[in-house]
């Protein structure tokens, strides 16, 4: 190859004139032709130098200047950005906006209004409240005051109230041996009010106490495909089916979170230990303590373009005074956050152990893929806290992200009970919330 052409001008005159000839009638062909020829003649007549050639080309262009307009598509994208339409939808009008999703797994597509303010007390206080309903008739109302960075990030507190009306929560019976065919459902209407206060003594570490009060009502499930839980299981099997007292919860927690980016971690770890005491009201029908240990570790490989994510969680419940744990407050296994090859709420019991391993790799900057395997079980006796007789699944997933924050996760998981596909708008693992209600 060579560079032998030295064309300074990039002339466009000839093609322009061809267009004009086409537009005008045949009687004007000659005029156009002569003009087309005359122009270069005129141009070259004065362009007997390189500089003249450039000047001629400029003068030629000066004849056909027009506004440098963007295409329709570009104008639309520009307007979208400059008018901040995305931000407006996100921020809403006067603090009001639309909230999508966020109900319990299996609750169906939900939406509703949300009022959101993060500019109160000079930006130190966040307030939000929302009301949502799903196509399946599930409802959720919540209210939150949050001060996550109080006293120069040394203190934090939160008040959170939520009311759920979930009309068809699955229940398969107690224990790890519950049958898939035993699927029933129940309606739960609960209201909880939680308060949390904590300190951050050092970077990454949070220590705090929390308290909450929970009101619960149960009813027959409304999914016509399945029998209602109260028709299939007795109160002896589904403890709490007959007595549904309120609960007072007192707890403490410690969290050490040094993930590099909580929205889409590629390195670091997130460790949570939470200890709560539940006491029913009125009367000590139920009293138990619960230890929740949730550990996530992200091991980066190849400059964080590959990540091995390991997650383990156990929930151990200690009933006191010979009482039991109502089934609707028992830990559950199954769903898009833990045992992904199984339906939500597939297993209930007092204790739980789940481990997850993911290998993620970056396909391009907006998408990571993952291969994963999950193992877990529920169990009644603490002696069964081991890795034997665990349910298992495996699968693959896509994690779509913007600026490394996952906004959509699609996981497909396979188990001996079939396969499940999950569309989630969060990152998997590590978003354990410290609340009283079992249903977030």
């Amino acid at each position: 190859m060579s560079n032998r052409v030295h064309d300074q001008s990039g002339r466009t005159g000839h093609s322009l004139f061809c267009c004009r000839v086409q537009r005008k009638g045949a009687s004007k062909v000659v005029l156009a032709l002569l003009t087309a020829l005359a122009f270069p003649i005129a141009m070259f007549a004065q362009a007997d130098s390189r500089a003249g050639q450039i000047e001629a080309a400029r003068k030629e262009k000066a004849q056909i200047l027009k506004p440098d307009e963007a295409s329709k598509a570009e104008r639309a994208m520009l307007a979208f950005r400059e008018k901040k339409l995305m931000e407006r939808v996100s921020a809403g009008i006067g603090g009001f906006r639309l909230k999508l999703g966020g109900l319990v797994q299996g609750g169906g597509f939900a939406l509703g209004p949300e009022y959101y303010r993060d500019d109160l007390a000079d930006g130190n206080l966040l307030f939000r409240t929302a009301a949502q309903a799903s196509i399946k008739g599930y409802q959720r109302y919540d209210l939150q005051f949050n001060a996550p960075h109080f006293a120069r990030n040394k203190l934090f507190f939160e008040l959170f109230g939520v009311h759920h009306d979930y009309r068809g929560i699955d229940y398969y019976g107690p224990g790890p041996d519950s049958k898939r065919s035993s699927r029933t459902d129940f309606r739960i209407i609960d209201t909880s009010l939680d308060g949390m206060f904590g300190i951050q003594p050092i970077k990454y570490l949070k220590l705090g106490v929390s308290s909450g009060y929970l009101w619960t009502t149960l009813g027959p499930g409304e999914d016509s495909r399945f029998a209602s839980t109260d028709k299939v299981f007795t109160p002896a099997e589904a403890i709490g089916l007959d007595a549904r007292p309120d609960f007072l919860r007192l707890g403490t927690f410690a969290r050490f979170d040094y993930r590099d980016n909580p929205g889409g971690p590629r390195s670091g770890g997130d460790y949570l230990v939470q200890y709560d005491r539940y006491r029913s009201r009125p009367g000590l029908v139920y009293e138990f303590r619960r230890l929740n240990v949730d550990l996530a570790q992200y091991i980066p490989i190849f400059n964080k373009r590959r990540v091995v994510a390991l997650h383990g969680r156990t929930v151990l419940t200690y009933p006191d005074n010979n009482t039991a744990v109502p089934f609707y407050l028992q830990p559950t296994l199954g769903g898009g956050e833990d045992l992904r090859g199984f339906r939500p709420f597939r297993f209930y019991d007092n204790n739980l152990l789940v481990v997850n391993g993911e290998y993620r790799w970056e396909v391009f900057s907006g998408l990571d893929m993952a291969l994963f395997a999950d193992g877990g079980k529920v169990f009644h006796r603490h002696a069964d806290l081991n890795f034997r007789n665990m349910e298992a699944d495996f699968g693959f997933g896509f994690r779509f992200n913007v600026r490394n924050n996952v906004f959509l996760r699609i996981d497909t998981a396979f188990s001996h009970e079939g396969f499940q596909v999950w569309f989630k708008f969060n990152n998997v693992f590590g978003d354990e919330r410290i609340r009283s209600s079992r249903f977030q």
């Binding site: 190859m1 060579s2 560079n3 032998r4 052409v5 030295h6 300074q8 001008s9 990039g10 002339r11 045949a26 009687s27 062909v29 000659v30 032709l33 002569l34 020829l37 270069p40 003649i41 070259f44 130098s49 390189r50 500089a51 050639q53 450039i54 000047e55 400029r58 003068k59 262009k61 000066a62 027009k66 506004p67 440098d68 307009e69 963007a70 295409s71 570009e74 520009l78 950005r81 400059e82 008018k83 901040k84 407006r88 921020a91 000079d122 930006g123 190849f302 400059n303 964080k304 373009r305 590959r306 290998y359 993620r360 790799w361 396909v363 391009f364 900057s365 907006g366 998408l367 893929m369």
Partner: protein, 544 residues
């Protein structure tokens, strides 16, 4: 109808008759008397240029999903334009030959586009508005003398990373020849700032409201503090003229009479690829450019600038750059497919790159860096059209920076950690050498031709920079017909000594010397012209 048709026939016939004459008159000579042009003629008045914005998202998607502009291919190369007959870019509104043409002193290099406009802190510094565009916090400020600056900060976890990069790289680009703003490392205390009564802030939903002390505090909370409580920033002096929007890396501005060469064919933009690779400027997209309508010598015209260098030298402005940056486009079907189907087992070399644990550096390195494989964040038509001669033009300018000059320029970033400065310097030196080695091998890298003492002299840049040992050159002298471009070999004239026939040539005669160093694919043809009794080098052609 009949007389009209007859008239048309006659007129067409007359026109056709003109064509042979016209073709003679239109036959462009290879060289004009004013070749090689050192400077483009003064611009025309550009009074119809209006401000317009480019959509960043549109530019990203359109360049990623389609091929914008006119594309050259290996089979169908399109030579660069906006160059003179030597293959150099004449001084123009995009580019001014600086360090390569006439070596700048260390002081001149460090001064860059200017050092007389640092913010005047003798009085209050007035915040005029908050910066809401872009990813880094900042504000628009007026100093005591009413001069305006864009003030930007480092990310909290990476003090000095973005601010140093912004200053250093602006000076490199200035020395290379581009129009850039004056950037200053600027430290101030909170007490020096006051908010103008008219200061506005654009909320995240696009509403403008008065700016408050709280807003300023919010911005400063995102900026790292110096041990003495002050803040370090980069203050970018406002460019002169009227902002008329960004330029694209393809096409031309339809409202600018001086913008006559499609940008994808401009050598100064094709070669920019090499400079960006050297300096780790993968964020060299359209939104980081700026066209300003300026007036010089009584003429208003568009001056084209590169701006915003906070995402260079391993920085991504608000965080360290991704290791993928510069190595793969943000999205490309081929690399995405390879990753997708290999389950991530295909591990490219860049993923194994080592980066220092220096917060001020981000992710910048030289070991894995491969200038030929370097890519910007998304495809750029001008960069895609960068051919070996374009890259050679750029590489020789990169190689013109000595180790000492590089160190001096890096010093302007005012790193407090000497290790960070050393790392950047060493990386730039190694990356410079890789660029020279790669692109001087693509063509026969002969440059700075002259006729001296009866010999044709030149620099063999590969030899000069020790990428190649001394070598012999095969030369064939020819007489050259400037109108027909025919070469008539001068028998027996195969040395670097200028043949007698050439020395004794008549005024206005042209000659060509074709050189190769063993590889006949890689040749350089040097054109000489006798003018005013002197032999003058008027043109250089390269093949590869």
């Amino acid at each position: 109808m009949e007389p009209q048709r007859s008239f048309i026939h006659k007129a067409v016939g007359f026109t056709l008759l003109l064509i042979p004459f016209l073709s003679v008159s239109m036959t462009a000579r290879k060289f004009y008397d004013d070749d090689p042009l050192k400077q483009e003629p003064p611009p025309l008045r550009a009074d119809k240029v209006e401000q317009r914005r480019i959509s960043d998202a549109y530019d990203l998607f359109s360049n990623t999903l389609s091929k914008r502009g006119e594309r050259a291919t290996v089979k169908k190369p399109i030579p660069a334009r906006a160059i003179n007959t030597l293959g150099e870019v004449p001084d123009n509104s995009w580019f001014t030959n600086r360090h390569y043409k006439q070596q700048l002193s260390i002081e001149e290099l460090m001064r860059g586009p200017g050092d007389q406009n640092a913010p005047d802190t003798s009085g209050p510094l007035t915040v005029v508005s908050a910066k809401t565009e872009g990813v880094t916090p900042g504000f628009l400020m007026e100093d005591a003398r009413g001069r305006r600056y864009n003030v930007k900060f480092d990310p909290l976890k990476n003090p000095e990373m973005a601010t140093s990069a912004d200053v250093i790289v602006s000076k490199f680009f200035y020395a290379l020849g581009y129009n850039v703003p004056e950037n200053y490392i600027f430290t101030f205390s909170r007490g020096q700032l006051r908010i103008a009564p008219t200061a506005k802030l654009k909320t995240k939903v696009g509403k403008r409201r008065p700016m408050t002390e709280r807003d300023l505090t919010e911005i400063l909370l995102k900026a790292p503090k110096l041990p003495d409580g002050r803040y370090r920033s980069v203050a970018s002096f406002y460019l002169k003229g009227k902002n008329v929007g960004e330029f694209r890396y393809y096409g031309t501005r339809s409202d600018d009479p001086n913008d006559i060469v499609p940008h994808e064919h401009r050598r100064d933009l094709r070669g920019l690829r090499v400079f960006c690779a050297w300096l780790g400027h993968d964020d060299s997209r359209a939104i980081n450019t700026l066209d300003m309508l300026v007036e010089e010598n009584g003429v208003q015209f568009v001056k084209h600038h590169l701006i915003d260098f906070g995402a260079t030298l391993g920085s991504d402005s608000y965080r360290p750059n991704s290791p993928a940056s510069g190595n793969v486009y943000w999205f490309a079907w081929s690399s995405a497919a390879a990753e997708f189907f290999s389950l991530g087992l295909d591990v490219p070399r860049w993923m194994r790159a080592h980066y220092p644990k220096l917060p001020a550096v981000g992710r910048f390195e030289a070991e894995v860096f491969d200038p030929e494989k370097w890519v910007p964040f998304y495809p750029s038509p001008a960069f895609d059209n960068c051919f070996p001669d374009d890259a050679f033009w750029a590489a020789k300018q990169v190689m013109a920076f000595s180790d000492e000059e590089i160190r001096a320029l890096v010093k302007t970033g005012q790193y407090t950690d000497r290790r960070a400065e050393d790392w950047i310097v060493q990386c730039l030196i190694k990356r410079r050498d890789k660029i020279g080695k790669a692109y001087f091998a693509k063509v026969l890298p002969l440059d700075r031709f002259e006729v001296r003492d009866g010999r044709l002299t030149f620099d063999d840049l590969a030899v000069k920079h020790k990428f190649s040992g001394p070598r012999d050159y095969a030369v064939q002298w020819s007489q050259f017909d400037n109108n027909t471009e025919q070469k008539t070999p001068l028998a027996g004239e195969t040395g670097l000594s200028v043949p007698r026939a050439v020395q004794d040539a008549a005024e206005g005669e042209y000659f060509a010397a074709n050189l190769n160093a063993g590889d006949k694919q890689k040749t350089v043809t040097v054109y000489l012209r006798k003018m005013a009794g002197q032999l003058q080098v008027v043109g250089v052609d390269r093949t590869w």
